[in-house]
Symmetry: C2
Subunit: 335 residues, 2 copies
């Protein structure tokens, strides 16, 4: 499970709690703070929990930074973390900072819930539809961005992508990682989701397998579609399938929710995500939603079909994104 | 405050939560795990909370260790952490491990409480008595132990202490740091403590000052007695007052509780701590208790008098400890 659920001594309540910390992977310290916070909260959202009672921040300040850099970087990171916590309806109370060779940023999210506030991730049934709420490819995007300044790496991919496209993809990845999965968590209740998890270090297939293993029913997850930040599939292929993106095991940071929904609810879930994302807050505040597969009878494993359809997700703000809103692409073959 | 207290949406309950992590300071990985856990729980105990609903473990495995050392050390550290959590009546559910240049170990302790389960640390009144539940000097002991193999350091202290005494002091420090402040937390309720904190990185005086600042009444804390692991005062003096131990600002790890008790309750508190510590579990499981000062009218500061009485606390199991049980030494001048 993505969070620990601890029954309390008080009237049917449970403490739900999760922690995560890691090393900066984007240049912008403010965005890094937001991403770290979104990543911690995501474990609650994966259980359909939309509230968080408290966030502790865990920070390690690098001893290798000079004082000026430290004073410039750390307050921005903390600010980003706090802003994302506020967007999640919680605040940062408490935490701990240490000095360490590397910068580390993370947190602990805790909430006390009534039983109806969370959805145990074990109720998938054959016939359900799998929905993913953020595109894949964040790791490829972050790496490709670093390669712009490394000629021998860049040469491998320059035939399939332009620098502008890599920069746009990097920014899309950054905004996507910083997006809270909170809206998706709320819609899980409205559309009676049967189970969910969030996609992070083990990649889509890794987390789909973990989720499949936990199911009460004998089910298998079959993934037909891979929504991927535009051009990242091409980069991965050009590098001999870099990070195994197309096999579904490329690590994501603060990825989307993978949700099992009743077949008749999935399109409505996607459509409401789409409407919310094209509204005031825009996709930045909500994420997208793509139907990516189905739940069959099976032995509690997940697999990606032989030639999955790649859904190229254009960066927000790009020409392509303005022409067609592709945040929802229900596949007629499954919906 | 030592812990964050967050009012919940459910019937008067509060979430009380704290986190701490740091680097190993004793050689024994199992004891290090116990100390890390005791140190985290101590923030709850300082508020008179004796229960803990969940503990998350935070661990960073050093990339500099070879695989064999890692496999030898990390399981022991985790085991020590879990054993201490169990002694605290809780279990470790969840957590996060990362790779990092340094080993880091810590945790997050969370509990959901009714209002009568915790004691806000702001109720000291003039006439109260200050009690400390572990001796000072852990940092001096840990450092002196390292000096045994550093001739130029050892030469500074060899006239005041023997190697055997340093080894005994180191072991005493290790056991003391691994001791849970849970018994003291329980007795805070029985004897109507008015406020408490735990003594850690800022030393006795630093934490006494922090506690004094939070008081509702205009009070000052005056410290007359310093219970110190035997010989550590002499070592500190021989090194030109090493770490400012006698000024009360030498850092402690997982130190005792500093408790403000009504005058008529303090001796009983100490006496019960003494009885419990000489019982089945022994001092190891409980700690000691020394009356160290008084609460006066004042401007919310703490101070140590000019020539405080040094109470030499013999290591448990030593000759001296067997001859006189000194875990309670109420000073007739203040009790």
């Amino acid at each position: 499970m993505d969070s620990a659920v601890i029954p309390l001594r008080h009237g049917g309540l449970s403490l739900v709690q999760t922690t995560d910390f890691f090393y900066p992977l984007v240049e912008d310290p403010y965005m890094m703070g937001r991403i770290a916070c979104a990543n911690v909260l995501s474990d609650l959202y994966a259980m359909g929990i939309t509230e968080c009672d408290n966030m502790l921040m865990l920070l390690s300040v690098s001893q290798k930074m000079n004082e000026k850099d430290r004073e410039r970087v750390m307050p921005l990171m903390i600010r980003g973390f706090r802003d994302a916590a506020e967007e999640g309806g919680t605040s940062v109370t408490g935490g701990q900072t240490v000095i360490n060779p590397w910068i580390i940023v993370g947190g602990v999210a805790s909430v006390v819930c009534q039983p109806n506030e969370f959805i145990m991730p074990d109720g998938a049934v054959p016939g359900d539809v799998l929905v993913l709420t953020k595109p894949l490819g964040t790791r490829v995007a972050v790496n490709a961005y670093l390669w712009i300044d490394q000629p021998e790496k860049w040469n491998k991919i320059k035939l399939v992508v332009t620098k502008e496209e890599v920069i746009e993809a990097y920014q899309e990845a950054m905004f996507s990682m910083a997006t809270l999965n909170r809206t998706a968590a709320g819609l899980m209740h409205k559309y009676q989701a049967h189970a969910a998890t969030d996609v992070t270090g083990f990649g889509l297939l890794g987390h789909a397998n973990n989720l499949a293993r936990q199911q009460q029913n004998e089910v298998a997850f079959v993934i037909h579609n891979l929504p991927i930040i535009a051009k990242m599939a091409a980069i991965s292929k050009a590098c001999g399938n870099l990070f195994n993106l197309l096999q579904g095991t490329s690590a994501e940071t603060s990825g989307g929710l993978l949700v099992c929904l009743p077949r008749e609810q999935a399109a409505k879930f996607c459509s409401e995500m789409k409407n919310l994302s094209s509204g005031a807050g825009g996709q930045g505040a909500v994420g997208g939603a793509w139907i990516i597969g189905i739940v069959e009878k099976g032995d509690r494993h997940a697999r990606i079909i032989d030639k999955p359809r790649i859904i190229e997700v254009p960066p927000r703000g790009s020409q392509a994104a303005n022409q067609e809103n592709s945040s929802t692409s229900p596949d007629p073959s499954v919906s």
